[in-house]
Amino acid sequence: MTTIADIEANPPRILIVDDERHNRQLLEIMLTPEGFALLTASSGEEALAMVAAQPPDLILLDIMMPGMDGYFVANQIKSSEATRDIPVIMVTALNDRASRLQGLEAGAEDFLSKPVDRAELINRVRNMARLKSRGDRRYSALAEQSAFKDEFLSHVSHELRSPLTAIRQFTSILLDGLAGELTHEQRQYQQIVLKNIDQLQAMIDDLLEVTRLDTGRLIVESEPASLVEAVTDAAATMRGCSEAAGVTIEAELAADLPLVLADRIRIRQILIILLDNAIKFSPRGTVVTVRGRRFERDPGFVVVDVIDRGCGISPDVIERIFERLYQVEGDARSSRKGLGLGLYICKALVTQHKGDIWVESLPQAGSTFSFTLPMWSGG
């Protein structure tokens, strides 16, 4: 509840917009005793400039004005993210249904008829200001909650790394025979433990990465970078994984492939996510191809394709594949799906490089994931 004391301490700022001076004065005279902070604008243009400079808590808006009329002004205010939540009360002599409808369509919250009745004006303004302040409080509570969630996720992910470190250490110690020779079976079981540690670690890394993305703390440091190096490096990293799946990674990089302007670590990360995905859906004995060339559709860019010969993606889910937490339903290849963050991270990273990412797929024939990166134009 907004109390009288709240209003006195922090009076709602009300912007009165009317092209006729005596109309503005009349509203001022009625509202001043109520303790509101009043601002006035004599045209739509002036009103929009004032709203942009310092958003008021409520706007009383005349409709019939030369130049920008009230409908246009309301529409402008309601179509901007920063100002859309400011309540607008249209003040009008037009009492027909069509005018009121047009005002509502423009986004106005309420109407007042001219000549303005003092009691009606004050009550409508008070109600609207109270709703606004309630909304503001809810918004700031939500923002606080979201900041807490991000901080919590980041903290938890970092803390999870510590016990994981000890688990990995002693698993390696056992596997290396530092605590005595293992039987064949013991060794096999410890390998399974190690594999799962690596999966858990990758999930923690993904979780942290998404937290950074969502809080705008993920930083891309663009520099001239070689795609050939990135592809070679990523393919080497994924070799163990591809061999275990019986899949071969082949690179087909154009001889004239220019350097790109990108963050080396990030390109490697994008490639690893796409390769991991491609391997996961590839039948044994097939090839995953990484192809890189100048982008024919946009000469300032290089395009990289990661092509698999897997089961493909059905058309009804292909739109959703880059969504956060999206997972392919009924993926029979692995009972463990991961967090569903890989392609979401991938898309965010490519976008941060001002590139684009998309997928083309034919069911039962395989998928091609493509992304572009800006070419390095310096010398």
């Binding site: 970092h158 803390e159 790394r161 510590s162 994981l164 470190t165 000890a166 688990i167 990995r168 250490q169 002693f170 390696s172 110690i173 290396d176 025979g177 530092l178 605590a179 540690i197 670690q201 942290l208 930083i219």
Partner: protein, 132 residues
């Protein structure tokens, strides 16, 4: 030739034991400090050839510990490898510019850490003795 001495500054007791088993098996002598404030004292006492340093430590985090090493004539020249659960981004750069020879994120891979230790100590990489 006498064994090379490694001081490990790490607050987690399990992780300290893991270091001990691993490093001893690769023929290093190990010494330990569990927090930032005892790190310098332990280093002066044992005069290590190399220091493995965690960043998140009670009583003075790893960066403060590195400053304290740098202020000491003998310790200033002992190579430091930072091993931390903190993110590579930002922290690696900061650790390297503070004078660390390498940065590893927890959990690390033993073969990579061992190679880095051998490299830093000027030992041939990959030929460290293994247990029988």
């Amino acid at each position: 030739m006498s064994k090379k001495k490694i001081l490990v500054v790490e607050d987690d007791a399990d992780v300290r034991l893991g270091y001990h088993v691993l490093l001893r098996a690769h023929d290093y002598d190990t010494f330990f400090a569990a927090d930032g404030s005892s790190a310098v004292g332990e280093a002066r006492k044992h005069q290590p050839d190399l220091i493995i340093l965690d960043l998140g430590l009670p009583a003075g985090d790893g960066f403060i510990v590195m400053e304290r090493f740098k202020a000491n004539t003998y310790l200033a020249i002992v190579p430091v490898i930072v091993v931390s659960a903190r993110d590579i981004r930002g922290n690696r750069e900061r650790a390297l510019s503070a004078g660390a020879k390498a940065f590893f994120q927890k959990p690390w891979r033993d073969e990579e850490l061992l190679a880095s230790i051998a490299h830093t100590l000027g030992q041939p990489v990959g030929t460290a003795p293994r247990p029988a």
